[in-house]
């Protein structure tokens, strides 16, 4: 039998001697409760934790004092110690014996090794891609297939500052790039589960989409500030996320593009999925002209973001492609084409600043942000077009650091450089905005910022190179995988991001609008 949830630790002294000290400080409800703890002899110690219970078991004697568990031992070569912390809430607990810990660790490692061996990528950045794929898999809620943005809340984007957010939810925005990463690495089952979850979780609000959901498919909770001090004095520590009340029109494009990738790679869009997608498309038809909070979720109000327009364009473009391929019914083709072209014209006219010779963050604006690199990712602009090249040059000029990293936006308060933006840059170069060698150099530079486990946070400190923001960050790892895959495809002369090939051609066929 296996427990519902369990963490095991095994310490082995391989040579010499060592002093082992173990401490466990259980504090449920964000540290506000010192739980009741009771000794059950050979069964272990039981910790009451809200609706459920934790059991802590140790192969060396454990003492509890003031709600803190201590254990210490002097270990000699060949000796080992094992600990098990399990949690259950809807049935009697399962308490596996500690002498099974080595076997269970072996079984666990075997499972992950087999999972990794299914990966199709076998190139120069294999180790980085494996670590990223593992991070994504570990942030997947297995029963539903939902992938959270990060497992932490309020690790600061600026040490000592207030840019601390709760990321323990699923952002629909991550959908498209995540599905692409999973499918092209060979993890079809994970991609399929994620898409199923996405369309299932949003069923109650369709055709309207929320920005983020819990792993159970519920709306994310309202934001509140806990009394915790925060990491290195960075307070407040927020629980819940206020972005749940925002309007971010780009999520429609992300969800539809995810479905398009799934269908392009052979996945079947059943009637319910087709109906949902057509509903999203119709919603976009009626709302694309609205201002929104946009991809970076500022809390300063709504405006007309170029990136949001791009994803509205993507929504209609992908649905038209799916329809043309016979994979989608129930859309008004003429209306979709007309509105798609209207959005495209607006991006080319008002999203482009002639004086700066660059696309800009907001329509008729003069500020830049790194999401403009995605104009070529979604097939709106060819990466080697004059406009994309000069936009890239402007972005480098205004948002790049001396060490080559990118900030995400000129319009946001000071923070670290944004890790996924650098991977978007690498992918832009791989897609044709630069050379193979430029892409490799940038990826190699970015690899120096991962930690010893190959993990990235949301941001990277320009000064120290340390990770900032919630950690590890799924979106950053999705960006890494995407950039490496596009590089690999270019090196092999394969079609890149093939699901939007026709869209890219379509983008090229409207030069008059420029």
């Amino acid at each position: 039998m296996v427990p519902d949830h369990e963490i095991v630790r095994q310490f082995s002294c391989t040579s010499g001697e060592l002093e082992l000290e173990f401490e466990l400080v259980p504090r449920p409800r964000y540290g506000s409760v010192v739980p009741a703890i009771r000794n059950f002899g050979n069964l272990g110690w039981r910790i009451d934790a809200g609706r459920g219970v934790c059991w802590i078991r140790s192969s060396i004697p454990l003492r509890f004092k003031d709600g803190v568990a201590h254990a210490c031992a002097h270990m000699r070569a060949g000796e080992s110690a094992a600990f098990s912390l399990s949690y259950t809430e809807n049935a009697p607990a399962v308490l596996p014996p500690l002498d099974q810990v080595p076997h269970r660790i072996e079984t666990c490692v075997g499972w992950w090794t087999r999972w990794v061996s299914q990966m199709r990528y076998d190139g120069e950045f294999k180790e980085e891609v494996i670590r990223s794929a593992l991070a994504l898999k570990l942030m997947t809620f297995a029963p539903s297939g939902a992938i959270i943005a990060a497992p932490t809340t309020s690790l600061p984007e600026k040490i000592g500052g207030g840019l601390n957010w709760d990321y323990r939810y699923c952002w629909l925005r991550d959908a498209s790039m995540t599905i692409r990463a999973m499918i092209e690495l060979g993890y079809w089952q994970e991609a399929s589960a994620f898409l199923d979850w996405m369309l299932h979780a949003t069923r109650l609000t369709q055709p309207e989409l929320h920005i983020l959901y819990t792993v159970f498919g519920n709306r994310a909770p309202r934001e509140w500030k806990s009394g915790l001090r925060g990491y290195r004095g960075s307070s407040p520590v927020r629980i819940g996320n206020a972005a749940r009340d925002q309007l971010q029109l780009d999520v429609y494009g992300e969800v539809i593009d995810a479905a398009a990738q799934y269908a392009f790679h052979g996945g079947n869009l059943d009637l319910a999925m087709q109906k949902a997608l057509a509903g999203f498309g119709d919603y976009v038809l009626g709302h694309w002209q609205l201002p929104d909070e946009g991809i970076w979720e500022p809390r300063t109000g709504r405006t007309h973001h170029t990136h949001s327009r791009l994803l509205c364009w993507t929504s209609l473009d992908r649905l038209l492609t799916l329809h043309a391929q016979g994979k989608l019914r129930g859309i008004n083709v003429d209306q979709y084409k007309k509105q798609r072209d209207l959005i495209g014209d607006q991006i080319r006219r008002r999203g482009w600043n002639e004086k700066m010779q660059s696309y800009v963050s907001e329509l008729d604006g003069d500020k830049l942000d790194s999401s403009l690199l995605l104009l070529s990712w979604y097939g709106f602009e060819k990466p080697d077009s004059q406009r994309m090249r000069s936009t890239y040059a402007a972005l480098r000029n205004r948002l790049a650091t001396r060490k080559g990293l990118l900030y995400r936006s000129e319009s946001l308060p000071p923070e670290g450089t944004f890790a996924i933006c650098s991977f978007w840059e690498a992918e832009y170069l791989a897609l044709g905005g630069g050379t193979i060698s430029q892409t490799r150099d940038l990826l190699q530079t970015l690899a120096t910022y991962q930690n010893d486990l190959g993990l990235y946070g949301e941001e990277i400190s320009e000064e120290t190179g340390e990770a900032l923001g919630n950690f590890p960050q799924a979106f950053t790892h999705v960006g890494l995988i995407g950039a490496v895959l596009s590089l690999d495809q270019r090196q092999k002369g394969e079609q890149q991001l093939a699901h939007r090939r026709e869209s890219a051609n379509a983008g090229q066929s409207h030069p008059t609008a420029a």
Partner: protein, 158 residues
């Protein structure tokens, strides 16, 4: 004895008992999961254990209700209230006698004396099943009272 009445009343009563216990688990009031506990007698697989446990518990409900019906028939009296009294007595017997014997009877249940081993790993219920939450006895009484009340209300004497 009215066999048809017995079969129907005990089926409805057992389903009601299962529903009440499942409700109390879902609300986080107790971790007593009868289907899981009964099913793990047969299998270590969690999902199958719940299904087997449900079926086995259904059969068990029929068998135990035979005793209820036997008492009704020998006393030539049946009512909802009499059934409720029998249900409460049944719950008391379960919480005191059965739960104390369970670690010995259940092949996969650990004991506080010996701790878990490679086969016995299930947390024992403890006195009055309090290990599964302090509200567990209350819900056992409520669900068994409902069990007895339903048999008492639905059973027709021969």
């Amino acid at each position: 004895m009215n066999w048809g009445s017995w079969a129907l009343s005990s089926l409805v009563a057992t389903l009601a008992l299962s529903t009440l216990m499942a409700l109390s688990q879902g609300l986080g009031l107790t971790r007593m999961n009868l289907h899981f506990m009964v099913g793990t007698i047969l299998t270590a697989n969690r999902d199958r254990a719940r299904l087997y446990g449900f079926l086995l518990h259904l059969v068990n409900g029929w068998l135990v209700s035979l005793l209820y019906v036997f008492i009704f028939e020998t006393r030539h009296y049946v009512s909802c209230w009499f059934g409720t009294l029998l249900g409460l007595a049944h719950a008391l017997f379960f919480l005191t006698v059965i739960t104390s014997l369970l670690p010995t009877l259940h092949p996969r249940m650990a004991t506080e004396r010996h701790g878990p081993n490679s086969y016995r790993q299930l947390e024992p219920p403890g006195f009055m099943a309090l290990n599964y939450g302090y509200q567990t006895p209350l819900w056992v009484f409520v669900s068994h009272a409902a069990f007895g009340a339903i048999i008492g209300a639905l059973y027709r004497l021969q």
